[in-house]
Symmetry: C2
Subunit: 421 residues, 2 copies
Amino acid sequence: MQFNEMSDQELVLMYEKLKREYENIKQQDLKLDMSRGKPAADQLDLSMDMLKQVIGVYDCKAENGFDCRNYGILEGVNECKRLFSEMLEVPVENIILGGTSSLALMFDYITQCMLTGSGAEPWSKQGKIKFICNVPGYDRHFSICEYYGIEMISVPLTEEGPDMDIIEELIKDESVKGMFCVPKYSNPTGITYSDSVVRRLARMEPAAKDFRVIWDNAYAVHDITNTPDTLLNIFDECKKYGTEDYFVEFTSTAKISFPGGGISCIAASDNNKKMILDRLSKQTICYDKLNQLRHARFFRDLEGIKLHMKKHAALIAPKFDIVIEAFNAELKEYDLASWTEPNGGYFISLDTKHCSAKRVGELCRSLGVVLTDVGATYPYGVDPDDRNIRIAPSFPTVVELKKAAEILCLCIKLASIENLV
Amino acid sequence: MQFNEMSDQELVLMYEKLKREYENIKQQDLKLDMSRGKPAADQLDLSMDMLKQVIGVYDCKAENGFDCRNYGILEGVNECKRLFSEMLEVPVENIILGGTSSLALMFDYITQCMLTGSGAEPWSKQGKIKFICNVPGYDRHFSICEYYGIEMISVPLTEEGPDMDIIEELIKDESVKGMFCVPKYSNPTGITYSDSVVRRLARMEPAAKDFRVIWDNAYAVHDITNTPDTLLNIFDECKKYGTEDYFVEFTSTAKISFPGGGISCIAASDNNKKMILDRLSKQTICYDKLNQLRHARFFRDLEGIKLHMKKHAALIAPKFDIVIEAFNAELKEYDLASWTEPNGGYFISLDTKHCSAKRVGELCRSLGVVLTDVGATYPYGVDPDDRNIRIAPSFPTVVELKKAAEILCLCIKLASIENLV
């Protein structure tokens, strides 16, 4: 029976029973973290052999003979660029490798647009400017906009991708300068943009000719089921309309090799690459080429990455199942929430139906279960409906996760009854 | 006899002899690079054991138990911060570690000052701003100013450091926002700021309260003789005047471990650190902690670094000697140039006396010897006297270097006679 079909008396009885469970768990002084999309240690173990790839003097030479211990090769060594080229289906010539963090590459790119522009006046000299943020979305994207005072306009993310009718209206405004997209296994809903959405994006005609889409393809190869999503290659579509300059693609091996020691990457049109390199040549002499060699040798090619990602999937998929099974068992009957069941990525997105998500977050925290800050999936940390919860099941162990999922369900029930009675 | 005391006939005879040497060398089709301060391969070999420090699962834990393969620890792991803290004599609390490049940390810091300010209005919103550049100086510093349209004011670098009389006048102008300093073994002259200069810098009273000195302590431990220079700790001096916020210090292990795979570092006052971290927390999740561990374990402490730097010195010092001996043998008698004989760092700075430095650069290039672009040691690439040549003796082998120094001397002679006759 659904909660909203129960009498107050039935609900109060249930509340008392749940509250006893709550008190019981509280005694256990748990510490369970489902807040961030961190790989678990067993996933990191998969890449350990990488660290042995560059330990001798002769290991330090790139295939072109360059000694990678020394200064030089700003764009990255060729064998590692090739790896990303295969992964993103973008020519090697359009690839630039970075340090460990693709977030840093995005931040630096937006900084560049602010200070020296993306082919027109610097954004910071154009008065109030705006960015389209698909919601729910990734909090670290929103933080960049907030830091620079870029006004964020929320656009709902459907199961097909961003609502293109709204976007096509918004970009008629010249002060709308860009948009954040996580096109595959979106953070946090896990959806992948449909072919039709990608095509509509590629043929956008923004009023701002210096419009830029941050195409954060963080989960390009992060499938967890046998029915993976596929994403159209944005640059292939753009070529049909001459819109390649509107898109800059980013990815990294953070969740392929090591979050704290991977390789990040930009894929950009000829024009954009030139502008980025112009800045980069002032910013640094080179990134860590030894780490690029480690990655190139360990993965070899796209097949190597795919094989490796299957091992990740074998460890992560059961964790997604645990959470979804708990939701099915505990929440479905009562119709207390809806949630996503993604084919890849790092998150499950849950929307409560009868209670405040913030309240659920509080209750969970009081039992030692840390969720992503409720609200963080929306610009300025404010979920207007106060219903979205991002669940990151990767980091806890299977045993911890079972407990955490059980507690989350309990807290949703408690919060819902509090609200209904 | 000095060239300017010789008759035209004597000079012409000498020119013909030198020209035959020139033609002879030209046949040899040489390729010798003294352009950049790159360590040679044998120096890089000294750090190879570092790459074996982190290859097993248990090697990946920091001393506080944190798994460094994963996200987290934005400021850097403690054991590696401690290493830099000892090296710079700055409390661990005031240290932030970066990626491989200290240039990137400087670029990003100036970018931050431009876009969000250093405690006042963003520099980019204050109209025309200016930076003091000590000359001759480091071309990559100048490039950052040029990229952002910051006007550069040249101030001569004496043997004691920058000319403080001029600087104290210049900083009365509120549009003068900062200064680049390489206080120890300055690039390219190799001088170290005297105690008196450091003290005068520390008690500067710039009109601009958001004034910032980029204290690029790139060669803090890079001694090459048994009579190393010593540099006063800028922050200790600043404390006496409450001026710590005017200075931000940078360094890296680029020329201690690997130029393409070292660790960079910021040392900053509490206020500045807070501002930098505020930006950094939006820019990235963390830098490469595995590489931080490698460095912390390989060097252990300051003593370890000092021992290691002695090995570098043993390889580099003979190269400095070769160049200086060639100058003494070939140029002194004729009084064709003056040059520095530094106790550390990576460069010898030479000033021609009777000819255009640019012409010397051309002649060298025509014989296959590449020098740093003549002029690059001055803002906008223009040496007003056209006399300064930066020589980087570290990268060629001893045999190559002998040849290169000989050729450089030959070209100075040729250019001088061309000019005198």
